[in-house]
């Protein structure tokens, strides 16, 4: 993937159900507008894979769905501001941004 001015290459790992929906393998590589935040990353993800709209964030409110969590650099950042910059390791592509279905029930 070529890198455009003002973008960063970010690795994103989707949960299995969303991989099948988007027809991708375990990890996708995205060009994300800088500064890299949850919002710019998810905007880029949904632009590349529009079938994921509404599956991670609510269609209208753009809020994270209740049973979805975000991890970056081994930390749960689900409750961080969507406009907070992501850790350098994620924004720089060294570590992936993990989108995880919350574990509940059995």
């Amino acid at each position: 993937m070529s890198r455009a001015l003002g973008t960063a290459e970010v690795r994103v790992v989707l949960p299995p159900h969303l991989r099948t929906l988007a027809r991708v393998d375990s990890e996708v590589l995205l060009a994300v507008m800088t500064p890299v935040t949850q919002r710019t990353l998810l905007d880029a993800l949904e632009a590349r894979y529009p079938m994921l709209r509404g599956t991670i964030r609510e269609h209208v409110t753009q809020r994270r769905r209740p049973r979805v969590r975000f991890f970056a650099n081994a930390e749960d950042i689900s409750h961080d501001s969507p406009d907070a910059p992501l850790p350098d390791a994620v924004a720089g592509g060294a570590e992936p941004f993990l989108i995880v279905g919350a574990v509940s029930g059995g």
Partner: protein, 394 residues
């Protein structure tokens, strides 16, 4: 020779069973949308190869899938081509967008309904329970959703608009969820009058529109529900399923939480026809394709024990429109059977003799090619079955 296609929605994907008109040998395709809950799959009566599916997840939300080739291939119909396609050529996902209509022109304010604890709770979209294709236009399809509301698409499922007159009915604050949520699970279209629609909601009751879905009124007179403070209240009844015979749409049959009911006046009034059933609790009810007075139910022990009485899986058939019922057991397990049959999981085909099909929470899909006299499992070990629809192919 005619063929039959059975569309099965399960907790972990959809399956399609096909057979020729003899209905002896069945082939199974699937799972489609593996791992996702598929609440309902239904084909258009005017174009049987046009099939709609509701694929859903408590985690990742609602997906609408469409097939134009009888279930061989599927796509999300959001925007198959043209300017709505993004720079990568992918559809824009609008087909998955169900937003309650709160616009001043056509919508109603997003009010509240009664929650389990009696407090008021705002409407929140969760999933599509039921897809009902138009009887005349393959691009028009209705969606009954949780929290209870009715949506319609007129572009083949690409986009959805709420028919807000139902959710915005003045009784809305009195509607409450059943054990499975507050869902609009049944929509019946009058084949003789497309402006007449019947909708059933757990736990609000049955509603009728005579203007194509713009306005609605509750039609629950005669229902008696012990679990609500006023057992004969206008709304609040946990209706599980309603059904009609297409040639006699003024007669409706209902499986309520408890009680099997019948209306002979388009739902204006109801009377009980449970008769000699071993239990009148249950979920599905179906009408024979050629005999308007022949109906089928699957008695379940109780709302506390969601399995058949005595561990015997029995379909009950009435040839008199209710009251007099006979047990149909030939080919069904008559001991140690503790499965349930859910409300959308029974269907009939249009062949002669009429075929009857139902699916269980144990993953069996049973079929009868002789109006219920004998049964065989078409497939035994699917995930828990949520819905069954039968298509009679030319």
């Amino acid at each position: 020779m005619a063929g039959i296609r059975i569309l099965v929605g399960t907790r972990k994907g959809a399956f399609i069973l096909t057979s020729d008109g003899k209905r002896k040998q069945w082939s199974v395709s699937g799972p489609h949308f593996a791992g996702w809950e598929v609440y309902h799959v239904k084909g258009s009566p005017v174009d049987p190869d046009r099939i709609y599916a509701s694929q859903t997840s408590s985690w990742f939300g609602q997906i609408i899938q469409r097939s134009d080739d009888g279930g061989q291939t599927w796509h999300q119909p959001g925007s198959p081509e043209g300017p709505q396609t993004n720079e990568f050529g992918m559809p824009m996902g609008e087909s998955n967008k169900f937003v309650y209509d709160t616009s001043e022109e056509t919508g109603r304010p997003l009010t509240t309904h009664q929650f389990y604890d009696g407090t008021q709770h705002p409407w929140e979209f969760k999933r599509v329970w039921h897809l009902e294709p138009s009887l005349s236009d393959p691009d028009t399809v209705y969606a009954g959703v949780e929290d209870a509301a009715l949506f319609r698409s007129t572009d083949g499922g690409s986009s959805w608009q709420e028919l807000a007159g139902l959710r915005g009915h003045e009784t809305g604050p009195d509607w409450a969820p059943g054990a499975g949520g507050m869902c609009l699970h049944t929509l019946v279209i009058d084949p003789t009058n497309p402006d007449r629609l019947f909708a059933a909601i757990s736990a609000a009751g049955t509603f009728r529109s005579d203007d194509g879905g713009l306005s609605w009124r509750p039609i629950n007179q005669g229902l008696h529900s012990q679990h609500i403070p006023d057992p004969t209240a206008p709304v609040g009844h946990c209706v599980h399923r309603i059904a009609i015979h297409p040639k006699r749409p003024n007669v409706l049959f209902m499986q309520k939480h408890w009680d099997v009911m019948r209306s002979d006046d388009g739902g204006d009034s109801w009377h009980e026809v449970s008769g000699n059933l071993p239990s009148d609790f249950g979920f599905p009810i179906a009408v024979h394709a050629h005999e308007p007075e022949t109906i089928y139910v699957v008695p379940i022990h109780s709302d506390a024990l969601h399995y058949p009485p005595e561990g015997k899986l029995r379909v009950y058939r009435s040839r008199t429109g209710g009251n007099d019922w006979e047990a149909l057991t030939n080919g069904l397990p008559q001991e140690n059977c503790y499965v349930n049959v859910l409300r959308d999981a029974m269907a009939v085909d249009e062949l002669e003799p009429c075929g009857v099909y139902f699916g269980t929470t144990g993953g069996q899909v049973y079929g009868s090619a002789d109006s219920g006299d004998t049964w065989t499992p078409l497939v035994r070990d699917l995930p828990a079955v949520l819905s069954v629809e039968a298509q009679t192919l030319p």
